[in-house]
Symmetry: C2
DNA sequence: TTGATATATGAGCATATACTCATATACTTG
DNA sequence: CAAGTATATGAGTATATGCTCATATATCAA
């Protein structure tokens, strides 16, 4: 979806799907937790306060989207961040939201 | 959701909501169309092939999220991009998807 | 004021998706 | 092999959201 050449619908579908994968607080929690480094499922369950089943399902979604990687070690499965764009993506959105909230706060202060 | 200090749930909710707003092909089409510059609703309806009612609703969502701005001029309402992070956001996702598809294509070629 | 045009909005319907429960599957140890 | 542990998955339910239809609302000119 570059500013220059318009992307075809098929590409926009993929982009939308990427955003959809990230449009879930629990998944963002998992991603944030993995910014500290690779973790096994049980650690992610503890870190996020979700149920094991739910976390497992979200991890599946993120892995299928190639945002996370996974490796087995005995009984445990470790997940890690696989896509380097996750950091700047989140930073951009946080920056934008911060500006908005700051602007709104300014309006209320008057 | 910086890599350094973990964001509270309330912030992750906001971030997720931002991604959710972008997780819709029709909305991305509108955004892409507006990368060319400000446009009235009817032009956006033509550019995207959506119904007027549906486009209007999507525009409302994007405007309420402060991603678009709007101004009236007689019978017409003009919309424009209001958030500068939209361009880098889309570029990041496109870049990531391109890499993935290239990698997948490579795997298939073997 | 009426009629035409442009856009926004109420209401209803269909579908996707998140969450949970239960348990299947995989791995390890005695 | 049985039992225990860790994780994935099938199935069902509730809810959010996209889309459409109809029309309300806003604007303008005659």
């Amino acid at each position: 979806m570059a500013k220059k050449a318009p992307l075809p619908d098929s590409a926009l579908e993929l982009v939308a799907r990427r955003f959809a994968v990230l449009a879930e607080p629990m998944r963002l929690r998992l991603i944030q937790s993995l910014f500290d480094g690779e973790k096994p499922v049980n650690a992610l369950v503890e870190a996020t306060g979700g149920t094991q089943a739910n976390i497992s399902r979200h991890l599946q979604t993120l892995t299928q989207a190639h945002l996370l990687s996974r490796r087995k070690e005995g009984l445990q499965v470790f997940y890690a961040i696989a896509d380097p764009t996750l950091v700047p993506l989140c930073e951009l959105v946080c920056g934008s939201l911060e500006k908005q909230l700051t602007k709104q706060a300014g309006v209320l202060k008057r």
